[in-house]
C-alpha cells in the first residue's frame, strides 16, 4: 500500500475553496429564511430587570424578538446541556433566564426578513439591569483560587497534575544552580476567520437541519437534542467546511442554540451569524500565571523541578487542561512537584485553543530551561541533550517512538546553531541586535474510536464517509490519499463525505487525533472490502486466488492481486459481476490498540532568530526552523502548512496576542481583528519546516497527527532569542516593544 501516502498533494477541495463553491454555514439558503441578530449584555454580572423590545418590533419586517421570557421550552437540568467535551460544572444556557454571567452574553435575538433590518432593530432594544459586583481580573483573584478537582475517572486524571516525585524542596535547596521565575500568558482569543454561524432549517413535521460551524457535528446534534428534547433522527447537523476552528468549535457555541430557538418558535428557517465582536464572548485560551523553579547540579542535569500554575475559568464551569504534566514528562529529574489552581472569573468559560495547556506551560518550561542554561553557562541545546530522556518521566515507560534527538540535530544543522555566540548582545547585523533562541515542543499522539463507511463500485470509484470535520487542516485530502492507496485506485476516483451528523460516528476534531483515527479507520474498512471481494473471488471458476489468505491480497490498479505472486490476480469488475453486484459497501469501527505500556507523543525543536532595533525595541522574527517528529507524515504539503501556520501563530503569541479587558466593565476592549493583533505578512519572514523520520507502530499506518505540535515551543524559542539579542528577560507575553525599549 503506497502511492499517495507520504507525498505532497494539493487539497482536493482547494479549487472549491478558492472559487467559492465550498459552502460554509452562512451560505446555505432555504425558502423563507429569516435572519437573527444577537443583542448582547453590556454588563458583566447581574440580572435583567426589563427588556424593552417595542422599538425593535416597530421596525418594519421584524418578525419577532426572542428573549428568556418567550423562548421555546428548553431543558432545565445541567446534564442536558453537557456536550461531549464539556468540563465539570453547569454549562451556560443561552436565553434561559434573567441572569447575566458575562459581558457580551446574548440576551435577546431579533429575527427579521433581512439581516440589515435585524441588526437595525437589535440596536433599538433597551435593557435594564440590576448589576452585581464582578471580577474579571486574574490578579484580583489570586487569594481566592481553588485547586483543580481530584479526578473521578481516568479520563479526568489526564488533566490533573502528576504526583510528586522524591523530595523536591530539599533537592531544590541543595542544588548547585537554581533558577526560579514567574511567567505570564494573557487571555488569547482564537480569531478564526469564519464567524460562528448556524442556519437552522425547520422542516415540516418539526425536523431540523442545522448548518453550523463546528468541529463536531454529532456533538452539536446530541447537544441540540438534549437542550430541546428532540430525537436524534429529527436533528441533522452539517458542517462540510470550516474557516478555522483551533478549538473554538469543539463545544457547541451559543449561536446554534439561538438559531434553533428561533426556528422552533417561528417554524421557519433562521440564520444567526455572530458579529466579529461577539466572537470574543466565546471560549478563549485561559490566562496562565506560572512559577517554575528548577535546580540543577553543575553537570547540567536536573535535581528538582517545581511547576505551579494558575489558570482562569468561569464561575459556572471548571475548565482546565494538563498544564504541569509537560514539565513532568519531558526531562529527567528525580525530584519534582506540581500544582494547578484555578481562578474563577465572571467571564465565559475558557476553552481549548491549539495545543491547550502545552502552548502555555511549555512556553514557561522552555524559557526556564533557557534561563537555567544561562545560569549553568552551557549551551541551551546542550542542556536539553543532558536532560534528555528516552522514557516518559511521569509513568516511567518507554515511548512508542521519540525522535526528538533527531529534531534537535536536524533543526540545529539547518539553522546553523553551532555558530551561536552564547553571550547575550554579542551578535549583530547591520546595526540590529541579533538573537538566537531554541525550545522543545511536546504534544500527545492520540487515536480515538471512529467509524468509516466505504462504498467501492465495480469500476473503481469509492465514496468514503465519516462524520468527522475538516477544520481547514486538509482532512478531506488525507482521507482521499489513504483511501486511494488502500483500495488501489487513483486519487480522483475517491469522493469524501464528512461533516454530516448522519454519517458514521466520529469524535470531535481536536487534540490532533483525527489524522491517526480516520486514516486507520479507512484502512480497516478498506481491508473489510478486500476480504469481501476475496470471498467472492474464491467462488469464481478457476480462481487464481483459491488458497490465498486475506492478508496476502492487495487491491491495486483495479485488481485483487496476491501479494506473493502478482500474476495471481482478478479484476474487481469481474469479481463483482460474478457476485451479481455493482458495488461493495462496508462500515467498520476502528479503535486504538490499548498500549498503556508505552507513551505516545509528538515532539519538536524550534530555532528562532530575532533582530531587534536596539534604540526602538522593534523586534523582527527573521528566521524560524521547526523540526518535527510526528510519526508518518501522510501529506507533506498539508502537514508543512500546519507547521507553518503554527509558527506564525507562535510569532503572534510571543509578540502580539492579548485579549484586553477593561476590568471596570469586565468587557473585552479589542474585540476585533484590527486591534487584536495577529501576525500579518510583514511579520513573517523565513520559516523552514523539517519532518524527521519517525517510524511508529502504535497504529498500522504509524500516524501521530500534527495540528498542534508545531505551536508548542515557538513562543519560548522567540522569547529566548529576544533575551539573547537584548540581554533582557521578558517573562510576560506578549513581548511588545515597550518591554524591551531602552535596552541600549
Amino acid at each position: 500500500m503506497a502511492g499517495y501516502i507520504g507525498t505532497s498533494q494539493s487539497r482536493i477541495d482547494g479549487v472549491k475553496k478558492v472559487t467559492g463553491a465550498a459552502k460554509y454555514a452562512a451560505e446555505f439558503n432555504a425558502p423563507g429564511l429569516a435572519y437573527g441578530s444577537i443583542v448582547a449584555s453590556t454588563i458583566a454580572k447581574g440580572r435583567i430587570v426589563h427588556i424593552d423590545t417595542s422599538g425593535a418590533k416597530r421596525v418594519p419586517s421584524v418578525i419577532d424578538v426572542i428573549t428568556h421570557q418567550n423562548r421555546p421550552s428548553m431543558a432545565d437540568n445541567d446534564k442536558a446541556y453537557k456536550d461531549d467535551v464539556a468540563p465539570l460544572g453547569s454549562p451556560f444556557r443561552p436565553l434561559y433566564d434573567n441572569r447575566v454571567m458575562f459581558n457580551g452574553q446574548p440576551i435577546a435575538l431579533v429575527v427579521a426578513e433581512t439581516s440589515e433590518v435585524a441588526r437595525d432593530a437589535a440596536s433599538r432594544i433597551r435593557v435594564e439591569y440590576t448589576e452585581e459586583p464582578h471580577v474579571t481580573n486574574l490578579f484580583q483573584q489570586l487569594d481566592a483560587t481553588i485547586s483543580v478537582p481530584q479526578p473521578t475517572n481516568p479520563s479526568e486524571a489526564v488533566f490533573t497534575p502528576p504526583s510528586a516525585r522524591g523530595t523536591p524542596e530539599q533537592a531544590l535547596a541543595s542544588a548547585a544552580v537554581r533558577h526560579e521565575g514567574t511567567y505570564y500568558v494573557p487571555i488569547e482569543n482564537h480569531n478564526a476567520m469564519e464567524l460562528f454561524t448556524a442556519t437552522a432549517v425547520y422542516e415540516p413535521g418539526g425536523k431540523l437541519t442545522v448548518y453550523n460551524k463546528t468541529q463536531g457535528v454529532q456533538n452539536v446534534q446530541r447537544y441540540v437534542c438534549g437542550v430541546f428534547g428532540m430525537k436524534p433522527e429529527d436533528v441533522r447537523v452539517l458542517s462540510p467546511f470550516m474557516g478555522g476552528g483551533f478549538g473554538s468549535g469543539l463545544r457547541p457555541n451559543f449561536e446554534v442554540v439561538l438559531a434553533v430557538q428561533a426556528a422552533l418558535a417561528l417554524r421557519r428557517p433562521v440564520r444567526v451569524v455572530l458579529t466579529r465582536p461577539q466572537m470574543y464572548a466565546l471560549g478563549y485560551r485561559p490566562a496562565m500565571l506560572q512559577r517554575i523553579a528548577i535546580g540543577a547540579n553543575s553537570g547540567g542535569t536536573l535535581d528538582a523541578i517545581t511547576h505551579d500554575v494558575i489558570t482562569v475559568t468561569s464561575q459556572n464551569e471548571t475548565f482546565f487542561r494538563q498544564e504541569t504534566g509537560w514539565s513532568a514528562l519531558l526531562y529527567k529529574s528525580a525530584n519534582a512537584t506540581y500544582a494547578h489552581r484555578l481562578a474563577r472569573l465572571d467571564r465565559p468559560t475558557s476553552s481549548d485553543q491549539r495545543a491547550p495547556g502545552a502552548a502555555t506551560a511549555v512556553y514557561a518550561l522552555e524559557c526556564a530551561m533557557d534561563e537555567l542554561a544561562v545560569a549553568l553557562k552551557i549551551d541551551p541545546l546542550d542542556l536539553r541533550m543532558r536532560c534528555y530522556s528516552d522514557r516518559d518521566q511521569i509513568r516511567d515507560r518507554p515511548y512508542s517512538s521519540k525522535a526528538l534527538r533527531e529534531c534537535y540535530a536536524q533543526g540545529a544543522a539547518a539553522f546553523g546553531w553551532d555558530k551561536r555566540n552564547p553571550a547575550p548582545r554579542s551578535m549583530r547585523d547591520d546595526g540590529d541586535l541579533v538573537g538566537w533562541g531554541m525550545a522543545t515542543g511536546v504534544w500527545d499522539a492520540t487515536q480515538m474510536p471512529i467509524t468509516v463507511r466505504i462504498a467501492l463500485s465495480a469500476i473503481g470509484h469509492a465514496e468514503v464517509a465519516c462524520a468527522t470535520s475538516d477544520i481547514g487542516t486538509g482532512t478531506y485530502t488525507i482521507m482521499a490519499q489513504v483511501a486511494a492507496d488502500s483500495l488501489g485506485i487513483p486519487l480522483e476516483n475517491v469522493s469524501i463525505k464528512l461533516g454530516d451528523s448522519a454519517l458514521p460516528p466520529s469524535p470531535v476534531e481536536g487534540g490532533s487525533w483525527i489524522a491517526a483515527s480516520v486514516s486507520n479507520g479507512i484502512a480497516t474498512t478498506a481491508a473489510a472490502i478486500r476480504e469481501n471481494l476475496l470471498q467472492i473471488a474464491k467462488t469464481m471458476p478457476n480462481t487464481p486466488l483459491a488458497n490465498v489468505g486475506p492478508d496476502d491480497v492487495a487491491l491495486a490498479g483495479g485488481d485483487l492481486v496476491s501479494r506473493l505472486d502478482a500474476t495471481r490476480a482478478v479484476a474487481i469488475v469481474d469479481v463483482m459481476q460474478h457476485g451479481g453486484i455493482d458495488r461493495i459497501a462496508q462500515e467498520k469501527t476502528t479503535s486504538p490498540v490499548q498500549d498503556e505500556d508505552r507513551a505516545h507523543n509528538t515532539h519538536s525543536a524550534t530555532f528562532a532568530e530575532v533582530k531587534v532595533d536596539e534604540q526602538l525595541g522593534v523586534i523582527r522574527v527573521a528566521r524560524v526552523v521547526s523540526a518535527v517528529a510526528a510519526g508518518r507524515i501522510l501529506n507533506t504539503k498539508t502537514a508543512a502548512s500546519q507547521i507553518l501556520g503554527s509558527v506564525v501563530w507562535g510569532i503572534g503569541m510571543a509578540l502580539q496576542e492579548e485579549t484586553l479587558i477593561d476590568h471596570r466593565f469586565g468587557r473585552v476592549m479589542n474585540a476585533n481583528i484590527a486591534e487584536y493583533h495577529v501576525p500579518v505578512n510583514a511579520d513573517v519572514y523565513d520559516i523552514k519546516v523539517i519532518f524527521v523520520d519517525e517510524p511508529d507502530d502504535s497504529n498500522p499506518l504509524g500516524v501521530k497527527g500534527l495540528g498542534e505540535i508545531g505551536l508548542v515551543g515557538v513562543a519560548a524559542a522567540i522569547a529566548n532569542a529576544v533575551y539573547h539579542a537584548t540581554g533582557k528577560r521578558v517573562r510576560d507575553l506578549p513581548i511588545t516593544l515597550d518591554k524591551v525599549i531602552g535596552v541600549a
Binding site: D120, S123, L616, V618, R620, R667, M669, E675, I741
Partner: protein, 338 residues
C-alpha cells in the same frame, strides 16, 4: 447599523446643500471609517450623502509651484503619483505606512483627514466616552490607554488622531480647502484639527455643512532630506504608537531649516515651532536632535499604560532626524529601521 437615507451629490454646491443644516447628515467618500462606525452604532447618520461622483480627483501643480490634491484622490493614487513621489516623497511614505493596500485603495484624501480616533471606548457604545457622548466621562484616562496621547490632552479626552498621511501634511505646511454654506475658505493644516479641550466631540474646526474640496501643498517638499518613521505593535497594518515625519534643509552639516511632526501622541498631528527653532543653524547631529526632542516633549505626560511613549517619541525624533540628515529615509516595505 440603523436605517438611513442615501443620496448622491452631483457637485460640490449640491453636496453642501444636501446637508441642509442637519448635524446628523454625513458625507461618504471611501467609507472605510464611516461605515465601520455606523456598524458599531457610533455614527448614526440620518442621511448619507455620497460624494464619490464629485470632480475632486485631480492632482495638479499650482501656479506657485505647489500641488493641489482633490479631496477624493484615493490614498493609493496619491502615494504613487509621480509628482508626489518626486517632490513630496515623505507624503508617499506616510501614506504607504498606513492601513493596508485594500484600505488605501478605497480611502480618500478628505476622508483620511476626518477619520476618527481609534480609542476603543469611542468605538464601543456600551462604555462612557466624552467624544462620542459628551458629558458621559472619559473611560480611557483610568482605563486602557496604551495607545493614547501624551501631549495636548485634557480632563475630557486623551485620544489621538490616527492618521499617518496627516502627519506628513502637517510637516509640509499644507492647507485645507473647504466649501460651506457661507462660501469657500482655506484653513492652515495646523488649525484644521483641534485639541480636545472641553469639547472632544469636535475633532476639527470644520463647520457643519462644510466639505473638504482639496489639500494644497506649498512648493517646499524636503525631497532630498526627509523620512517617515512609524513605530507600531506589528510590522504593518497597525496604527502608530509613535510616528514622525521629518524634513531637513541642510547647508553642509548645518541645518538651515528643520521640521518634524509627530503622530500617535496627540489629538492632532503635533508640531512645535519651539522645537524646530532648536534645530535652526545647528549641526545635524544626535545632540541637536535630542535637544529638539526634549523641547517638543517638555510638557509630555503619560498615563498608566502609555508612559513609554514619551521615551519612544524622544528616540523616534532623534532617529528620524538622523535618517533625514543622512538621506536614508525609512523604507515602508523593508521593515528594518534605517
Amino acid at each position: 447599523m440603523i436605517n438611513f437615507q442615501y443620496v448622491q451629490a452631483t457637485d460640490v454646491a449640491d453636496a453642501v446643500r444636501q446637508t441642509d443644516g442637519d448635524p446628523r447628515a454625513r458625507f461618504v467618500a471611501g467609507g472605510t471609517n464611516l461605515i465601520d462606525l455606523m456598524k458599531m452604532e457610533v455614527e448614526q447618520p440620518t442621511r448619507v450623502i455620497d460624494i464619490t461622483r464629485l470632480p475632486l480627483r485631480q492632482v495638479e501643480p499650482t501656479p506657485s509651484g505647489g500641488l493641489r490634491i482633490g479631496a477624493l484622490v484615493p490614498n493609493t493614487d496619491l502615494a504613487y503619483h509621480p509628482l508626489v513621489e518626486e517632490r513630496y516623497p515623505v507624503l508617499s511614505s506616510a501614506i504607504m505606512a498606513g492601513a493596508s493596500q485594500q484600505l488605501r485603495n478605497m480611502a480618500s484624501t478628505g476622508g483620511n483627514l476626518l477619520q476618527r480616533t481609534r480609542c476603543a471606548y469611542f468605538y464601543d457604545v456600551a462604555t462612557p466616552c466624552n467624544k462620542r457622548t459628551p458629558g458621559t466621562g472619559c473611560s480611557a484616562i483610568e482605563g486602557l490607554n496604551r495607545g493614547h496621547a501624551i501631549l495636548g490632552t485634557s480632563q475630557a479626552c486623551i485620544a489621538v488622531h490616527p492618521s499617518d498621511m496627516c502627519v506628513a501634511m502637517m510637516m509640509l505646511d499644507a492647507t485645507v480647502h473647504v466649501t460651506g454654506p457661507t462660501g469657500d475658505r482655506v484653513v492652515p493644516f495646523a488649525d484644521f484639527h483641534r485639541l480636545p479641550g472641553d469639547a472632544p466631540q469636535r475633532d476639527t474646526n470644520l463647520n457643519p455643512g462644510e466639505i473638504i474640496t482639496a489639500v494644497e501643498l506649498p512648493p517646499k517638499g524636503f525631497a532630498s532630506h526627509h523620512t517617515y518613521l512609524k513605530i507600531r505593535d506589528r510590522l504593518s497594518y497597525a496604527f502608530a504608537l509613535v510616528a514622525i515625519a521629518a524634513g531637513l534643509d541642510l547647508d553642509g552639516d548645518t541645518i538651515k531649516e528643520g521640521r518634524f511632526a509627530l503622530g500617535g501622541i496627540a489629538h492632532k498631528p503635533w508640531r512645535d515651532p519651539k522645537a524646530e527653532a532648536v534645530l535652526r543653524g545647528q549641526p545635524a547631529n544626535a545632540a541637536t536632535f535630542t535637544r529638539a526632542a526634549d523641547v517638543l516633549l517638555r510638557d509630555a505626560r503619560g498615563y498608566k499604560y502609555n508612559t513609554f511613549k514619551i521615551d519612544l517619541a524622544r528616540r523616534c525624533i532623534v532617529r528620524a532626524l538622523g535618517q533625514a540628515a543622512r538621506a536614508t529615509p525609512q523604507s515602508q516595505s523593508h521593515k528594518k529601521i534605517a
